[in-house]
């Protein structure tokens, strides 16, 4: 059975929060430019590092200069969304789509934050030995 270590879980939760924050940031930028002529809606994508982290119990590898050991910054770069229809002014941002993305990211952040807080609470309880 694949034993998922506490360290892997904490790193994965931290990463989930980073990704959610980046998604919110990109969506905010898109919404701000809803009426800017020629602006193309952007998105951010992440590699499946989450899965790798969960599999390995070993210390996280540094494959990029931006990596810190432990909670690493998500390596998403903003790219243009493909296949969106442009309006008359060349803008491709869709209001509902961005709000939905932002709401979803908000939910993901909340779930990860709650889980992380619960893990911390467990550890603190064990340290205090219930006293």
């Amino acid at each position: 059975m694949n034993e998922i270590t506490d360290r892997a879980i904490l790193a994965a939760l931290g990463r989930q929060m980073n990704q959610a924050v980046q998604r919110q940031s990109v969506a905010a930028g898109n919404l701000a430019n809803l009426d800017t002529p020629g602006y193309k809606a952007r998105t951010v994508s992440f590699g499946d590092v989450l899965e790798d982290e969960l599999q390995a119990g070993a210390p996280l590898a540094r494959t990029s200069p931006g990596h810190l050991g432990g909670i690493t910054p998500a390596d998403g770069a903003a790219t243009e969304v493909e296949g969106l229809a442009a309006r008359r002014d060349g803008n491709t941002v869709q209001l509902d789509r961005e709000l939905l993305n932002m709401t979803r990211a908000s939910g993901e952040f909340g779930a990860a934050q709650t889980a992380l807080a619960a893990k911390f609470r467990l550890v603190r309880y064990a340290i205090n030995e219930g006293r």
């Binding site: 892997a8 779930a111 893990k119």
Partner: protein, 106 residues
């Protein structure tokens, strides 16, 4: 990150080790059957705490992957917390009982 040096299961294991030792000498004076029963039940609780902690990690991993539901992870976390609390409290009570016994003048 300092948090990874502290693993909940190792702390509970340490707690159980100190908790089960008092049951040893007590079994010499009192009924051997009842005091080893305490140790057994504590070890059982410890295993349950360890298991529920592992289940919680699995549930969280599923949540993060997207294959599991958020509420499942939250429930698993609550179970783990309850199991841990139960284990630690029982161990504390055992420690207390042992110390009470040791304080009795012969």
């Amino acid at each position: 990150m300092p948090i990874d040096a502290i693993d909940t299961s190792s702390v509970v294991a340490r707690a159980a080790r100190t908790g089960s030792t008092p049951a040893g000498p007590a079994s010499g004076s009192g009924g051997a059957a009842s005091s080893s029963g305490f140790a057994d039940s504590l070890i059982g609780m410890l295993e349950s705490a360890d298991r529920t902690a592992g289940d919680a990690n699995t549930a969280i991993a599923n949540m993060v992957r997207g294959t599991g539901d958020v509420h499942e992870a939250m429930i698993a976390l609550q179970r783990a917390e309850t199991a841990l609390q139960l284990t630690v409290q029982v161990r504390n009570k055992l420690m207390q009982a042992y110390q009470d016994v040791m304080r009795m003048p012969i």
